[in-house]
């Protein structure tokens, strides 16, 4: 019997606001333990939360970018449970009136993964388990999180990965989060169940936690799917539970010390006031948002005459797309900018993280200057490349490497001079050519290129050389 996989994801994204969601402590990553804290985020008696406007705006942006309805009225609620990383013994979150509802994320095959809701909440502190006991650091306590809940629309492990990658790109594009799984600014819990192919209804699902990278997620979901199919095939049933992915074994395990379902006793937080997002507010927030990546992809193809493959490489990271547009400004052939980026620049960015950070020595303006000069003076592509490499190595501007002479190129009398010099200095090649080896002229062209440091046009040089040699 063939089974199909059903997945829904709950994704937590840490927002990159400057301050925490309910107090003015910094959200900067790292820092010595308990040095980014105040009475509010450690829950001292008598303290009260004050809602960060930017966190609300970022949440609305996330909703707009994923086609959600933005709730006109939205409220904050208390989710009550006891755990050492939760200073107030309740998390301020949103229960029945979230900021965003009913959106979707499109996959490359055209299918849509529906989003039930996106809401704003606060993060807990960090626990480190040691021999003496549990060590608690509240630096992270109070950092704003958005929780993105999908419907169980995902049908394969690959789709799950693509969905999260899409979310990552959207959030990074908006500039509202780094979305780095390894750093914890993107966390996924996946609900997994299986059912016989072609049947309706949903099987019993398990929740998988603790996957800290895409490869963990892939391994975990594959394992869990197979485990559930195994159970059903042998006549057993799947137990509804929360399971933890163990990276050492590559398996999911039932979480022993998770108690039976917690009664969170949600109720309206009396310390916080209702949030109203009017059409006007939503419009203002939308105006602040950058262009949607899908639209940008189409535009790169039409406006800059880029083939889809190349355009995809450029729009994947917003910094790179922005860089390209600035570097391509005013060029007759914007593709040259694209080539510089996907060629020499990408060669220096070894992985996705490096591409996301996009720290290179040449500014878009400097690259633009180089390319404009190249267009104006008709500089050869290989000279452009070698100059760019030098600029990337040193961070120095174009003017340090291309002199007036370089820009003027080599032609006319000067070219003839170099050609005669090449003929004089390479008698063997000349003899070969005159003896019938047409290809020997390449060596002479090479010599001219070397002598002019690439400034000459090889095709013109070849013509001049031929002329010289043929005429004697």
């Amino acid at each position: 019997m063939k089974y199909e996989l059903i997945c829904g994801l709950e994704t937590h994204v840490e927002l990159s606001t400057k301050t925490k969601v309910f107090c003015s402590c910094t959200t900067e990553f790292g820092g010595e333990p308990n040095t980014h804290c105040c009475p509010i985020c450690i829950g001292l008696p008598g303290t009260l939360p004050i809602l960060n406007r930017r966190a609300v705006e970022y949440t609305v942006m996330a909703g707009i970018a994923t086609n959600c309805e933005i709730s006109t009225i939205s409220r904050m609620d208390r989710k009550n449970y006891v755990y050492p990383d939760l200073p107030k013994a309740y998390q301020i979150s949103q229960y029945d009136m979230p900021l965003c509802r009913n959106g979707w994320v499109g996959l490359s095959d055209g299918r849509r993964i529906r989003l039930t809701r996106i809401h704003l909440e606060e993060d807990a502190g960090k626990l480190i388990h040691g021999r003496a006991g549990t060590f608690v650091d509240y630096n992270r306590s109070g950092v704003p999180l958005i929780e993105i809940v999908s419907e169980p629309d995902i049908r394969s492990v690959e789709e799950a990965v693509e969905y999260v990658e899409k979310l990552q790109m959207i959030m990074r594009y908006l500039g509202i989060s780094d979305c780095r799984m390894e750093e914890g600014s993107l966390r996924c819990d996946v609900n997994v169940s299986v059912r016989p192919e072609g049947s309706d209804g949903l099987g019993t699902r398990t929740e998988i936690k603790n996957m800290n990278s895409f490869s963990h997620m892939t391994k975990a979901l594959n394992y869990e799917r197979d485990r559930q199919i195994d159970l059903l095939e042998s006549g057993e049933s799947v137990v509804q539970e929360t399971r933890r992915y163990d990276e050492k074994t590559g398996c999911t395990e039932g979480m022993r010390d998770k108690e039976d379902a917690n009664d969170y006793r949600y109720f309206r937080d009396p310390d916080l006031i209702a949030i109203r997002i009017t059409e006007e507010t939503a419009r203002k927030i939308r105006a602040e948002m950058p262009e949607d990546p899908q639209k940008r992809l189409s535009r790169f193809q039409s406006e800059y005459a880029l083939p889809e493959k190349e355009a995809l490489l450029l729009i994947e990271h917003r910094k790179i797309a922005d860089y390209f547009e600035r570097a391509a400004e005013g060029l007759k052939n914007p593709r040259s900018a694209a080539n510089c980026i996907t060629g020499p620049i990408f060669a220096r960015l070894p992985d996705e993280n490096a591409k996301e950070k996009f720290q290179i020595a040449v500014s878009a303006e400097d690259l633009n200057a180089l390319l404009r000069m190249a267009e104006k003076a008709g500089i050869r592509e290989n000279l452009v490349r070698s100059t760019l490499e030098k600029m990337l190595d040193t961070g120095k501007p174009v003017s340090d490497f291309l002199s007036k002479e370089d820009l003027e190129g080599v032609s006319g009398e000067e070219l003839k001079k170099f050609c005669r010099q090449a003929v004089r200095q390479n008698p063997a090649a000349v003899k070969d050519y005159l003896g019938g080896k047409q290809k020997a002229i390449k060596a002479l062209v090479g010599a001219v290129m070397k002598a002019t440091r690439g400034r000459a046009d090889p095709q013109k040089a070849q013509l001049v050389l031929k002329d010289l040699l043929d005429r004697g």
Binding site: T19, S24, T35, I50, N52, V136, R268, I273, I275
Partner: protein, 92 residues
């Protein structure tokens, strides 16, 4: 009437430890209080949802960092702390 087991379950949820000899008295007290509260549960009156005084909306704080408190102060009242962390010993 709420049973002793129910009270014990509530106590666990509220992270309160009830000694066996206390459970009877506590159950009796809670039952009196719940019976008292039943007047609300059984009232025929509908009322109208209370969403806060004066219908206020949109009270926010701007996203500007202020210096955090010194760690010494943050840890000042902790029962046990080590290396800058709050420490919850496994057992004592």
């Amino acid at each position: 009437m709420v049973s002793k087991q129910e009270i014990a379950r509530l106590a666990k949820l509220a992270k309160l430890y009830v000694k066996p000899e206390e459970l009877d008295g506590l159950t009796e007290d809670l039952n009196r209080m719940i019976r008292f509260a039943d007047a609300v549960a059984t009232s025929p009156e509908k009322g109208s949802a209370f969403g806060g005084f004066d219908g206020r909306e949109n009270i926010f704080r701007e996203d500007v960092p202020h210096p955090s408190f010194r760690r010494d102060d943050i840890l000042k009242n902790a029962g046990s702390a080590e290396d800058g962390f709050f420490l919850v010993r496994h057992r004592r």
